[in-house]
Symmetry: D2
């Protein structure tokens, strides 16, 4: 993870793109890439979507879109001084308390 | 990263939530969380957005939203059998070829 | 439609919110509301999603989210000087040429 | 509006695309198009974004993206049996009560 953060940062700095990499702009770019990821799945049935990685062409597109999402998420977290793994683990611990196994097992996820 | 993947997977399996964690559903959930992240920045000026982590309350919300985004991205990648760091590094290498430093330095990012 | 545009504009102007209603900010707000709409559907099966309006509580939430999306889309179009119906009809005519009935009937939508 | 709804519905029915036009799929498609719209603005300064329609090429892209968003929003509302203008006006009336002019005038929009 740290290595990825360092490499994405170097990629931006070598191109003098820090000026574009504001939190607002990066959040928009992240959302744009997630939109492209959604487009890969939108017309598939649940069964087709579940087997998408078995299709070489579609699978490569999904891998590429997930890569783009991860790049922008990594860059946004770096610009904000946030450790991605740490905040994810913190939220997961909170979710474990909010959704106790004995209460929610097998039932639809509540919002 | 691997540890996070394992923990998110365990969280889902303990709750029998694999049935909900299809690629389509997880992509939608990821987009929903990115929408909440956008909402944190949407009315801020670029300057306010750049200083958002200095505000304890707003900063905590941003950390929480980024944590949620990372959880769903990790889970989606796991379900699809994708290594997040690997696909991000692959895309970064492709981007380095597509946007050579000498051609794009300091200029607006082309789509 | 025109009446809605006028009312949304009046709502913003009465509150001196034009300063916040820049194209970037409104596009982010639109995406945020679409994220909330996605959240209404993300854990539903296709069958459950197809019957969502039969549930009074969930149906009311979906109506509210669609209302929010339409408000921000209307406001964004107004700020940009775009007529929503006109641009939608123009795109629909282009799509009719791009996807001729005899070629695409019943087959998966191509991107 | 009604005319647009009728035309979008005819476009889908002529192509036997009702099978793809489930609420989940249409919500994903809507989000995907909003993602493309965000991409038009993401690297622009607020000033550049405010003048985007003065640029013939960028302005045409923005018009096309807004058209796509409106098409999918119209189709989703139609499939759900929702009147877009009506739900937007209802939400606007609720927002007028929630954000009284005398309390919020000129101040940042609260979430």
């Amino acid at each position: 993870m740290d290595d990825l953060t360092v490499r994405v940062r170097a990629f931006a700095e070598e191109r003098d793109w820090q000026q574009f990499h504001t939190p607002k702009n990066l959040a928009m770019a992240l959302a744009g890439e997630v939109g492209e990821l959604l487009a890969e799945f939108q017309w598939l049935t649940p069964e087709q979507a579940g087997a998408v990685m078995d299709d070489a062409v579609a699978g490569a597109r999904v891998r590429a879109e997930i890569g783009d999402v991860m790049i922008y998420l990594t860059r946004l977290a770096d610009v904000l001084g946030i450790d991605l793994t740490e905040v994810a683990l913190t939220k997961l611990e909170e979710a474990a308390i909010r959704y106790p196994v004995e209460h929610v097992k097998g039932s639809a996820i509540k919002r």
